[in-house]
């Protein structure tokens, strides 16, 4: 497939939504795990969870992060990443969830979940997806400080 065909193909499909309003609940994660018990070709699952950290900025503690995104572009990019990862690794499943809006310290804002017959594919794919999400998705985190001031987050 050349680049133009690929792009037009992506444009035609409706990319899967990855965004959840607010934090990702632990019960949602276990439901997602439980659903995979019927897929008995799976031997390993790899999960990454991003949790909002109580960083201290200029003596003020972060109490929450407010996420915004360029939704349409983020979903298109995520669709491209998804296709690339599926062609690179023999995965059974891949699920991505990212919060939008306010996520308090200690809550989960990112849930990446990959499954494969043998562990290596799930682990390597999960790792690569997390890196690509951080680097390539147009999402921004506004760190809300305890005095209600804020600072725009910078990824390391």
């Amino acid at each position: 497939m050349d680049a133009i065909a690929n792009t037009s193909n992506i444009m035609k499909k409706t990319p899967k939504n990855i965004f959840t309003e607010g934090p990702i609940a632990p019960a949602f994660i276990s439901d997602s795990i439980a659903k995979h018990s019927s897929n008995t070709s799976i031997g390993g699952h790899s999960i990454f969870l991003g949790q909002v950290r109580a960083d201290v900025i200029d003596d003020k503690q972060v109490i929450a992060i407010e996420y915004t995104a360029y939704n349409e572009l983020a979903l298109e990019k995520m669709h491209q990443i998804r296709e690339a990862i599926f062609s690179k690794y023999p995965l059974t499943c891949m699920h991505i969830h990212h919060s939008l809006g306010r996520v308090a310290v200690g809550e989960i804002c990112l849930f990446v979940f990959t499954s494969s017959a043998h562990r290596r594919a799930a682990i390597d794919a999960c790792n690569e997806i997390v890196e690509r999400i951080k680097n390539e998705l147009p999402i921004w985190g506004k760190e809300i400080l305890e005095d209600a001031s804020h600072q725009w987050k910078v990824n390391q």
């Binding site: 991003g50 360029y70 998705l137 147009p138 999402i139 921004w140 506004k142 987050k153």
Partner: protein
């Protein structure tokens, strides 16, 4: 309608920190390419000078001066910080 007849209608979106400087969105016209657009925005919002951002035209990130098609969408994207 007058704007549309007078020239290209360009919708500009500002994200992250840039939305605090310029608001979430604005509509411009009579600008032919991204260099002209960026110049215009710098004049209108001098605080942009201190900010790093990428530019996407119709959801494609551009790397050189790019012609603006009719009714296009331009997005100014500061460094990402998702995850």
């Amino acid at each position: 309608m007058l704007i549309m007849e007078n020239g290209k209608r360009i919708q500009v979106f500002f994200f992250g920190k840039l939305s605090e400087i310029a608001g979430a969105a604005t509509t411009l016209s009579n600008l032919h390419n991204t260099d002209e657009l960026i110049q215009h925005l710098h004049t209108q919002f001098p605080a942009l000078a201190n900010e790093k951002f990428a530019v996407a035209v119709n959801k494609q990130t551009i790397h050189t001066n790019t012609e603006l098609p009719d009714n296009c969408t331009v997005a100014l994207l500061p460094p990402f910080s998702g995850g």
